[in-house]
Amino acid sequence: MTTISFINFGVTYGTEHAVSQFDDTVHSGEWLCLIGPNGAGKSSILRAATGLVDYSGSITLDDKDIKSESNRWRARLVSYVPQSPLIPEDMTVYEYVLLGRNPYVAHFGSESAHDLDVVERVLNRLDLVRFARRSLGTLSGGERQRLVIARAIAQESPVLLLDEPTTALDIGHQQHALELVDGLRREQGLTVISAMHDLTLAGLYADRLVLMHQGFRVAVGTAQQVLRSETLAEFYGVSARVHHEPDGTVVVIPQRAPSI
């Protein structure tokens, strides 16, 4: 499977440094979660690895630099679930998931029987078959989110990047979506990098958390190591209690600021 590495990586928008001196390696089967306040550079890391923003340093997939390879090559190895996907309302569910096969279809070609097979398996797997003919405009938020994940899975890439995959979902759909990703990761050894705001969920699913602050990597480790109330106070400017459950789960509970 595939290892993704960031080496002396940085993203600059104009004169603004969004990410600086970022080094990390995420191995096959590992789930890395990027946390940090808004504007810390989490999305920039994911977008750079998807070829959407320019960056300095390098990003490699199994020691091949993605800058020197084509979009198509990268899309076979890396799939991306954006924070706010663009949903063409009059497209059908089937057509949408089929787009995930693009990296395997020749420029002017059409999808092979194998491509259709993959789409069908993904639709079955994600329990979307009964929606296949529906247009996207008729789906609920939770169904849409599942669909975007379905498209990414149809890409059959060993690396999966998720940008705030659960922000728009209720607690049940959040769990469902993350369990789905986790199941695939265990089955197929996917490398997963996600950016998440919900710290408890992040700690629950990720093997490793990276806390970003103003573009720098300020803390890294397991949930127990990174999620500490003094760390959160320093970087999020928040007053929160961190509760360690006996089973190792770390729960972050926000607190009201003391009234003066």
């Binding site: 959407l52 979009n71 799939s79 663009l86 057509e95 089929l98 069908e120 079955n124 797997r125 078959v129």
Partner: protein
């Protein structure tokens, strides 16, 4: 979970039965329009003899139609080039419009968006102002050439300007650059016209579009461009579907978005410029036909592209018929007819579809 044994139950969603049906229906509509188009017009033989003669002209078939060779000359030299030209121009404008709408992800875009119309108009105005009468005996008529070059030049300027500023959101910058170039070319055109107001009428009639002067040499002139650019556009139908999820996600899915946009814009512009060069500015076709197709056959570009091509051809051939007979013996400008009949038809379609939903 037994994934391998699931029946192929959803495959037909990609190729719905409706697609083949619509494809055949469009081909038939085009054939009917072409035949009726050659049957109707001032002078010439009795209308019902013409289909018989057309069948007679097919290889290995002989039927007696009673058409004299002088009458057949009218059909062959005057009506047929006009009908064929209408089909080519209609097909080109529609498929180019659909292509532009696809790469710019904007349903209100028409093929004249990036300055084609204004550039061609300026080119034509210049020819009319510089002694049009003196150019009539030239071997190569400079009017279509000037319109063609003006159109390409305007879009070239738009593209260079539009892509040099906005690296991030180049689609929007490109459209805005098109607006600026259009205004500039229109301003120059107005200035030239003001100094040569004796040609205003000629320029005005050119702008409204006309097929009345069509000859086989016009057909020969634009055929290569129409064939080439339609083929390129049709080949991009799958990628245009991919562009519907936006630039970022198309890149994430492995597409080279800039290259696709460049090729589609180039092909659509080349074909549109050729069409405009021989027929003037026929409005409305490039925006209304792709939308009508979307309403009846779905929004996937895999269907929109081929059906726009066929129905665009049929629409313009059909619209040309009232343009010949409405104000007989005078011509009604084809641009007027397309808008006059197209707009109510489109509104009707929009309404029935809304109700059906």
């Amino acid at each position: 979970m037994t994934l391998a044994t699931t029946p192929r139950s959803v495959e037909i969603v990609v190729l719905p039965r409706g697609q083949r049906w619509w494809l055949s229906a469009s081909v038939i509509a085009l054939m009917i329009a072409l035949v009726i188009g050659t049957m109707i017009g001032p002078a010439g033989p009795v209308w019902w003899r013409i289909p018989i003669e057309l069948i007679n002209r097919l290889p290995f078939i002989t039927v007696h139609s009673g058409i004299t060779s002088a009458e057949w000359n009218i059909v062959w030299q005057i009506r047929m080039p006009r009908v064929v030209l209408a089909a080519l121009v209609g097909a080109m404008l529609s498929v180019a419009g659909a292509g532009y709408q696809g790469v710019f992800r904007n349903p209100l875009v028409d093929p004249y968006l990036l300055g084609v119309a204004a550039g061609a108009g300026l080119g034509a105005t210049v020819v009319f102002s510089l002694n049009r009468a003196g150019t009539l005996h030239w071997i190569v008529d400079p009017l279509p050439l000037a319109a063609f070059c003006g159109a390409l030049l305007a879009v070239f300027v738009t593209y260079v300007v539009g892509t040099s500023f906005g690296a991030q959101r180049s689609a929007t910058t490109l459209v805005l650059a098109g607006v600026a170039v259009t205004s500039l070319a229109t301003a120059i055109q107005a200035f030239v016209l003001q100094r040569h107001n004796d040609v205003v009428r000629q320029v005005y009639s050119w702008i409204l579009g006309r097929l009345s002067t069509a000859t086989w040499s016009d057909v020969r002139l634009i055929l290569p461009y129409v064939v080439l650019s339609s083929c390129v556009l049709l080949l991009h139908r799958r990628l245009l579907d991919l562009m519907r999820v936006g630039e970022d996600e198309a890149i994430a899915l492995g597409a080279n978005v800039r290259r696709v946009r460049l090729i589609v814009v180039f092909a659509a512009t080349l074909g549109t410029a050729a069409a405009v060069a021989v027929s003037g500015l026929i409005g409305f076709v490039g925006i209304i036909v792709p939308h009508a197709v979307r309403l009846v056959a779905g929004a996937s570009y895999r269907r929109v592209m081929p059906l726009s091509l066929l129905l665009g051809a049929a629409f313009l051939v059909a619209a040309d018929i009232p343009s010949r007979v409405l104000a007989d013996p005078a011509e009604t400008p084809i641009g007027v007819v397309t808008a006059f009949f197209g707009a109510p038809f489109f509104l009707l379609l929009l309404r029935t579809r809304q109700v059906a939903k």
